[in-house]
């Protein structure tokens, strides 16, 4: 018996050792396994392990631990104890990738990673993506023109991208001095990334900023939605296939501002009530390891308004606008395995404008003054068509656990056909073949240090120059929840089509960004501080021929620098309340277009601040969202064209400070009724609640004798509507958004 026991104990072999990191720190909880047997152990808090086995012969000893690369070693078990020490390499598992990626990619370079409901519930913003972005640091409160004016840049320096490809006309057509809302509903997108600078080499042709929109994948469920309001009514269907592998949807809405304009007096006289038909169609198909998405939207809009003519005052300018816009986007994202991924994007858009303006007397009788220098071109016709076809391919390859390499290219074919008929007929045609290639690498130097380095090279056939735009961004995790990031990049943008048509010898405009920020993310809280310096070169400058016609060169330049703060507290400090505060200080001057010297542009205010609050009251099934935005008055100028055909500043000033309080109320009667068939929301919103006198800017008559304030078309904007949804229980959205 004794003999037997000794044989058994002799048969047991002790296997021990340690599991550690490179720097010698222990790894606890690692699974040490004698492969294909039950034998093994778990490393303790000091990284040590010990177990015994009765197995004999050649075996693999494997080590696995979360967050580290798998490791194994072959051992031969005979009778003596075995000691093995392992050093494991850190692995980028799924979590650390997203956490790290968040440090260097565009998602973190922008403060704004907002979901659709975040956007839809900003008080007074009327669920318009761009209006919500104006509550973010770095943006200006420019209401008289469409577009996002970022860090001393113009609205055209911010470009919008849907699933990687550029959107040419993201805003509804509008008249001069009246801003327009965006064409795209926030509910089309699962994520909205607003980068105010230093973004990835994947994106180009935007000097200042990129609004990167990623469309939603398959819907959770089939549903039917409807909206009813005095301004707009419409319906939508989303159908999810039974196997949950594909979906399709259509929507239509009709906008008619007739009733609204009857109830709320507008300052310009609308002789033709703005109306619009908007329809879209989409399908999405899940592939093996990816998705194909198609989205197509058609919008047709009409309207006509008349305003006093600033140069004659007796007369009115009656402007008639007709616009047709068709946008289509096909994208295919696929994970090819073996570390390869690709993203393919195809898009086509056409935008057709027809504008007609005539000078009328107070009885709306057309007038013509072909001899008057300053009135001869008041009667005009503009027919314009702008097409953009795009192809974009991005390939991602994970080279190792620490390096992801990305390479891609895009091709744009841009067509402009326009005829401007005033005293004479002026055709304006342009064809441009634009090609870009880019490459970048995400390098995870260590758990804390991440770099994204890349570059982009572009060629435009009309400019006939190749540019090279390097981009670099380095981020360092100062703690588990905070990061310090610095980025640098050169950005090029083609001049506007009209400028290129007049002066085809123009080159690229250029901006160089230097950005540093610190960001802290705690549960539901974000705190961010950012400084930047931006250098502008080769901006387009106007060389006037006369009051109406000009040619252009690249002699302009400028700079912008500033400090920005942002903090958000999503229902952490105050129950059921989400709020964010942003502040931006901007110092910028530029010489471009008709600016004779470097001056603060008329679209840039020095101080901008916003407070967005959203509070939900579960007891009353309703929410109150209140937003306050403030900006110091922007400068305005009268540029006089002198005898030497140069512009000079004859008058200037500063508009009064801008205040806006926006309020929206939502009420969800079906909330909490688990079996409710119909989910509905009643929504009401008002902008400029306090009725402050908002002046964006001033216009001057041609000789400078008359100065007119540019203001919103009405003191306040109201909206009320009912949104209904069948088929999908939106209570969860409501909880998500409001809890």
């Amino acid at each position: 018996m004794l003999l037997f026991i000794s044989i058994v104990t002799n048969g047991q072999v002790k296997i021990s050792g340690s599991v550690k990191k490179f720097d010698g720190k222990p790894i606890a909880g690692a699974n040490i396994s004698l492969k294909d047997t039950y034998d093994g152990a778990t490393s303790d808090s000091l990284g040590f392990f010990l177990f015994t086995t009765t197995e004999k012969g050649k075996f693999l000893l494997s080590i696995s631990a979360s967050g580290y690369l798998y490791s194994e070693d072959s051992i031969f078990i005979s009778s003596s104890s075995i000691v093995k020490h392992f050093i494991l390499q850190e692995e980028l598992n799924e979590i650390t990738i997203t956490a790290r990626k968040f440090d260097a990619d565009d998602k973190s370079k922008s403060v704004t990673l907002l979901n659709s409901l975040d956007i839809a519930t900003v008080g007074g913003a009327g669920a318009d993506i761009s209006s919500v972005m104006k509550t973010m640091p770095g943006t200006q409160q420019v209401g008289e023109r469409e577009g996002l004016f970022v860090r001393g840049g113009t609205g055209t320096e911010t470009k919008q991208f849907i699933d990687g490809t550029l959107v040419n006309n993201p805003y509804f057509a509008t008249a001069p001095d009246i801003g327009a809302r965006g064409r795209f509903s926030p509910f089309l997108f699962k994520g909205t990334v607003f980068s105010t600078g230093g973004y990835s080499a994947q994106y180009g042709q935007a000097l200042s900023s990129a609004l990167i929109l990623e469309s939603i994948d398959l819907p959770e469920k089939s549903h039917i939605d409807a909206s009813v309001s005095p301004l707009v009514w419409g319906g939508a269907i989303q159908q999810l296939a039974k196997n949950e592998k594909s979906s399709w949807g259509v929507s239509y809405n009709y906008v008619n501002l007739g009733l609204y304009f009857y109830l709320v007096k507008q300052k310009p006289h609308y002789f033709r009530i703005p109306t619009g038909h908007n329809t879209d169609f989409n399908f999405r198909i899940k592939t093996k390891k990816g998705i194909v998405k198609f989205y197509s939207a058609l919008g047709i809009g009409n309207g006509g308004l008349s305003r006093p003519d600033i140069d004659s005052l007796l007369f009115k300018d009656a402007l008639n606008i007709h616009n047709l816009n068709w946008y289509s986007n096909l994208s295919w994202r696929e994970n090819l395995g073996n570390g390869w991924k690709f993203n393919l994007g195809l898009s086509y858009s056409t935008n057709r404008d027809h504008m007609h303006q005539e000078l009328q007397d107070s009885n709306m009788v057309p007038q013509a003054f072909p001899e008057s220098y300053f009135l001869m071109n008041k009667n005009f016709n503009l027919t314009s068509r702008q097409d953009l076809s795009q192809f974009k391919l991005v390939l991602d390859k994970r080279l190792s656990s620490n390096v992801i390499f990305r390479i891609g290219g895009e091709y744009w074919y841009n067509i402009q056909r326009s005829i401007y008929t005033a005293t004479y007929e002026y055709p304006g045609n342009l064809n441009d073949h634009f090609t870009a290639l880019f490459a970048e690498a995400d390098i995870h130097v260590s758990n804390r240090l991440t770099a994204q380095a890349g570059g982009r090279s572009e060629y435009s056939s009309i400019i006939d120059q190749v540019n090279i735009a390097p981009r670099l961004s380095v981020s360092y995790k100062t703690s588990a929840n905070s990061v310090l990031c610095a980025s640098y990049g050169i950005f090029y943008q083609k001049p506007e089509n009209q400028q290129l048509i007049a002066s085809p010898q123009l080159g690229y405009t250029k901006a160089t960004h230097y950005i540093a920020y610190f960001q802290q993310n705690l549960k539901g809280r974000v705190l961010r501080a950012e400084v930047f310096y931006k250098q502008y070169n080769n901006l387009v400058k106007t060389i006037p021929k006369d009051l109406y016609f000009s040619s252009y060169n690249n002699a302009g330049d400028g700079y912008a620098n500033g400090v920005e703060f942002f903090c958000r507290d999503n229902k952490v400090s105050v129950k059921n309340m989400d709020y964010w505060v942003s502040y931006s200080y901007l110092d910028t001057k530029r010489e471009f277009l008709n600016y004779p010297t470097k001056i603060q542009p008329n679209f840039a205010a020095t101080h901008n601040a916003s407070v967005v609050t959203k509070k939900f009251f579960p007891k009353y099934k309703g929410g109150i969202n209140l937003t306050y935005t403030y900006s110091t008055g922007r400068p305005y100028y009268y540029f006089h064209l002198n005898e030497q055909r140069n512009f000079e500043i004859k008058d200037q000033g500063r508009a009064k400070d801008f205040h806006n309080v926006g309020l929206s109320l939502s009420y969800i009667p079906s909330m909490g009724k688990q079996d409710a068939k119909t989910f509905w929301v009643i929504f009401a919103s008002i902008s400029n609640l306090l009725g402050s006198n908002q002046v964006y800017n001033y216009n001057y008559s041609y000789n400078g004798s008359v100065k007119q304030a540019v203001t919103p078309t009405a003191r306040r904007f109201f909206f009320i509507g009912v949104f209904l949804s069948w088929g999908v229980d939106r209570t969860q959205d409501a909880i998500n958004n409001n809890l």
Binding site: A28, G29, N31, S33, K35, D36, T37, Y38, D39, G40, A41, T42, D44, S45, S66, G67, N93, E94, I95, N115, E220, K523, G524, N570, K571, P618, K619, K621, M671, G672, K673, Q674, T731, Q732, D733, A734, I735, N736, L739
Partner: protein, 215 residues
């Protein structure tokens, strides 16, 4: 259709019996190791102990390759401490848990595994409920729905359903009153349950105590 299914089930059953006879020796080792670790899982208190048990189960699973049970318990052993121990990073933990769930479901995708899916998604949701509801809350409830579609009488899924209603605020369609009938059903199902050896049997006590809180 039904008849055909019955024949197949009978066939499978007899085949299983046949194989189990052959591999009885091996099975003996397997069930002994499983029982030993199930005891360890029962008595585990610290997170380190739970991790050690999980690792043991995983080793058994890797060696056997044919039973979903070791992976099931390996995952359960990592989920259990994460309800209490707030120092556990639920996201990092979920990567490991979901890998184990994947391994188990590749062998046999059954109703019990949906309970794991529900729990791990719930844990991820609880990190930041207000923000994560849309993703992980839906993931959790989808797992529950799919599991209950497979077996509406599974006591653990009924308990998880009841518990989810129990902890959802009344205004949002939750609360004790609504949870009560579901928990009552779960407790009833637990009392009728006769789990096969080594099969999941947990949840009876906690379901009863939650039901008691409803009164």
């Amino acid at each position: 259709m039904k008849g055909k299914f019955r024949i197949i089930s009978l066939l499978t059953f007899s085949l299983l019996c046949f194989f189990s006879l052959i591999s009885q020796a091996q099975d003996d080792k397997f069930s002994k190791a499983m029982q030993k670790n199930l005891k360890a899982l029962d008595s585990a208190k610290t997170t380190a102990e739970y991790i050690a048990v999980s690792n043991s189960f995983e080793r058994i699973g890797d060696a056997e390759k044919t039973s979903w049970l070791p992976y099931y318990y390996a995952a359960l052993a990592l989920i259990t401490p994460a309800w209490e121990d707030k120092t556990i990073n639920a996201d990092a933990n979920s990567v490991k848990v979901k890998a184990l769930i994947e391994k188990a479901s590749k062998i046999e995708d059954n109703v019990e595994i949906y309970a794991l899916r529900n729990m791990i998604a719930t844990q991820q949701m609880l990190i930041e409920p207000s923000i994560r509801w849309a993703n992980y809350g839906v993931e959790a409830s989808t797992a529950l729905k799919k599991g209950l579609a497979m077996d509406p009488e599974n006591p653990r899924l009924n308990y998880l359903k009841g518990s989810s209603i129990f902890y959802t605020p009344t205004q949002f369609g939750g609360g004790k009153d609504k949870a009560k009938p579901v928990l009552q059903k779960a407790v009833e199902l637990y009392s009728k349950e006769q789990p096969k050896p080594l099969y999941p049997a947990w949840g009876k006590e906690i379901a009863a105590s939650l039901l008691a809180q409803c009164n």
